[in-house]
Symmetry: C2
Subunit: 231 residues, 2 copies
DNA sequence: CTGAATTGATAGTAATACTATTAATATTGT
DNA sequence: ACAATATTAATAGTATTACTATCAATTCAG
């Protein structure tokens, strides 16, 4: 029965187009083949060579298209990364909402929510042109850079980070449900979401300062940490 | 008596040159006036315009020196940022070690250590050409970028991040002293050090997902979190 | 006070991050 | 089926960046 409901939800999600803030693109990449190719291959190329070395020229070469055509979809690579990030957090948000629907026990809800934001991601086959596992790797190594810029405040006002903050706010609400008297619900929630990305990064690159191996989930660490902090 | 010892230590620190991994520079900037000017003004300029827009040309203009002269000290701006970061973490490490010397109670040690890595920094007058308050702002907004690159693993092997990891390791040791049975000492310590930077950033830029105002210390949040987690 | 080291000035290169223009191709509406 | 329109491709061009190389000027040290 539970499985059936989950499948029904999954079907639902596969028909919902993930809507991204329209200030992030010049032309919506979801509306054309070239657009989808840009999204799909930018994810692969950024994963391969990193965001710093990624250019629209290289992407054009890879998809046998022209640099200038890519500029018709995105103003610059920073906006493209913001687009990919918004897409990712929207997808996480859907998963979060679905995973806690119909669950009434706050602690159970908390555990499910933490799982969603901390677990290792595998590809979601409902989105053929986007590989979530690879997108997750990009988020782990590149997302932080989207807001560590001189333009944060303007871009924040334009709503480029709302989806990310929405995910954090869902966690905040659940934390408050579990313990309405806890003083630092906001900081705890934002710590978990950002911290999970950092732990996933260092388990690959700074192995001496983490207790996890590359394939481990960091989930248990965060569930224990949050539950103890709220007790 | 305690104050006297602290002052004696402070005098000690003022005579100890903060040594930075010599692979990070071409010529040691501490050995010349121009070198010190480069350090001093790179901190100010990066703080003003951000690391992305910072160039050696602009720095040269500012210190009435030449771009090519700056290249005689640092290979590129990335190495310069790594230098500043190493300097910062070495300075934090000194402060950490001094603040816990002669303290035997592990919990007290823990609280002092967390204070050092989470508190708002003010200028240390023992280092005339380096303004720690501003350097701290740079670390908050730029340090994470030093390791979120495709070259992390090589640079990590070259030891560019040892001082940072040394600070984390000091915390790990103290955490283990407080609770030798806790399974995630490493991840907890690295979470606190990186998390504190993130909380300090968002209290300025993403105010809705933190419980702190710009001038608040995030220390209390972390002390409570760690103590509860270890209990 | 002379030779070595340091710094400054200038020039040059390849790559990046675009903009502009025009041509080629595909799509659509009637 | 065909003209109008939209989309994409190709090419060229610009300012800036991130350097390297060379040589002249200055400083410093024995």
């Amino acid at each position: 029965m539970f499985v059936k409901i989950k499948l029904a939800m999954k079907n639902l999600i596969s028909n919902i187009k993930i809507a991204v803030n329209d200030k992030l693109y010049v032309k919506d990449p979801e509306t054309s083949d070239l657009g989808k190719k840009i999204i799909q291959n930018s994810i692969l190329l950024i994963d391969e060579i990193g965001f710093e070395l990624f250019t629209f020229k290289k992407l054009g070469d890879r998809i046998q298209s022209n640099e200038s055509s890519i500029y018709r979809y995105f103003e610059n690579k920073h906006k493209l990364l913001l687009y990919l990030s918004s897409w990712y957090w929207t997808w996480i948000d859907y998963n979060l909402v679905f995973s806690i629907t119909n669950i009434n026990n706050p602690v159970e809800k908390l555990e499910k929510a933490i799982l969603i934001v901390t677990q290792n991601i595998t590809d979601d086959l409902d989105t053929p042109h986007i590989n979530e596992e690879i997108l997750n790797r990009i988020i782990i190594s590149e997302f932080t850079k989207t807001f560590l810029t001189k333009e944060v405040d303007e871009e924040n006002k334009e709503g480029f980070f709302i989806v990310y903050k929405r995910v954090v706010n869902r966690l905040i609400d659940i934390i408050k449900e579990v313990n309405p008297n806890y003083k630092y619900a906001k900081s705890l929630a934002s710590s978990v979401v950002e911290g999970a990305l950092h732990q996933q990064y260092i388990k690959k690159h700074f192995k001496t300062i983490t207790n996890f191996n590359e394939n481990d989930d960091v989930t248990q660490f965060y569930i224990e940490l949050v539950k103890k902090t709220l007790s």
